[in-house]
Symmetry: C2
Subunit: 318 residues, 2 copies
Amino acid sequence: MSAAEAGDRRALARLLSMVERGDGAGDPDRPARQVAALAYRSGEEAATVGITGAPGAGKSTLVDRLVSVVRAEGGPVGVLAVDPTSPFSGGAILGDRVRMQEHALDPGVFIRSMATRGHLGGLALAVPEALRVLAAAGFPVLLVETVGVGQVEVEVASATDTTVVVVNPRWGDAIQANKAGLLETADVFVVNKADNPGAAETRRDLEQMLDLSNPGGWRPPVVETVATSDQGVGRLWEEIRRHQLQLAADGSLERRRRARLEREFRTVLTARIERDIGALLSGGEMGSLLEDVVEHRLDPYEAADRLLGAFGRRPPGA
Amino acid sequence: MSAAEAGDRRALARLLSMVERGDGAGDPDRPARQVAALAYRSGEEAATVGITGAPGAGKSTLVDRLVSVVRAEGGPVGVLAVDPTSPFSGGAILGDRVRMQEHALDPGVFIRSMATRGHLGGLALAVPEALRVLAAAGFPVLLVETVGVGQVEVEVASATDTTVVVVNPRWGDAIQANKAGLLETADVFVVNKADNPGAAETRRDLEQMLDLSNPGGWRPPVVETVATSDQGVGRLWEEIRRHQLQLAADGSLERRRRARLEREFRTVLTARIERDIGALLSGGEMGSLLEDVVEHRLDPYEAADRLLGAFGRRPPGA
């Protein structure tokens, strides 16, 4: 961890691999757990931005340009590219190393792909842990790009302070299909490839949707961009910053982070308990109790009592 | 229980209501648990037959006629009519009391509707428990009718020794849609309303499906019936009996019952553990630990350790 803090990228990459694999993340004496704990204790918080949208919407190019905008401000920036559908990672599939070539030699940019790798709690735990490691390693701005607009992708993207939803012109139907989910998730809408026909219409659809649903408070701006020619990306970053200032000002940043931690804690708990139950159900005692049940020596409830008695005492009041 | 065994129907109905509600089925000192345990210890096993199929297939009439056929053999018969979609029970919704009027005065017939009522493990536990209560009360033959062909319905129906799947003529599409599920479940197929056009075709479809998939062993017969005019019902009962003889002869009755008990035990375990987790997550300790997590005094894994430490020690090797 200290090497990573000092800017050693290989050390950082190794730490992130540990977090991704989640090796024994539940056990105090395993490295993944130690990494998670150290990063947690550091208490460093980065400004996190999730970028989600259907494949082909131009998210990667957009992220690439955003990195340049953030770098122009001077601070370092980390990118986590998450593909929940891929068992591979390290950039091989997402092609980040190729794509992000212009940033490859910039020591202020760290890019990392991440996939579902066997972490106890899946990406729901691996992503926030990785973000904390990156924050602890000195990246004050972190972009999280997810592929797709399914539930998992949206969940991952919304495990950030600001969630950017990227659509394209003439995607009216796609928007309709997942309207509620998008409205709930998006802090900023981007109509990318805005030089294509239908951009104004898509923007109007989004604005109407927001007119109908917005309950007051922050109204997600709709930003038109043409990422390939760098149009609108500066404006997008301004809107993201504006959102983060607003979050900090009205106390909702604190609330969001709190809610995220609560969710994470519950996920850890559930994952731990599921693992323990798995161990119980495949253990030797299970077999002999099952035999007693089958032979009608014990009814299933008595057998459960005995097995859970071996597991631990029942919680008070149960 | 002893009153129920002596043929007291009100006592039996009360026992079944307890099982259905599942009041504190996990707690040794609650009546539902005691009923379940007593019935379990009795070790009485009835021949159980599940009848499933889409609404309108004529299952109820078929069950009604089957009851007559079984009664003609002299022994008592119990009917459990299960509606997983209804929160009501007692026959009000399914109209069994009206429908089964001809058996209402027959002391050798016991008919009971059952719905999802709040049993800890849902119908997956309530149905086998109710079947054991009925078996212990002296019913050697039990028919379980479920409404619908969804996963829950099929699961409930297949918690029996013999599962009868009822279809109607020209239901080729319905069969296609759930082909794998039906093939896995059905021990006997019935084409009811076989006096309607398309009966022969539906029968042929089923036979072809069986030709393609049957791995040897028991081949589900396809029986045509017209339940309203009592045609084919005797033949259906013969096929059910033939299946049960085969099950007993080749040892698969033992294997099926064993597998069912194992499933039931796992369901009890899971339901118990879920309840205990629910208690943990809403308990007071959760709140203070969450505060520690939010304030970065504990990482989520440490907090989980503490909470689970309060729950019980970890299982060996975890």
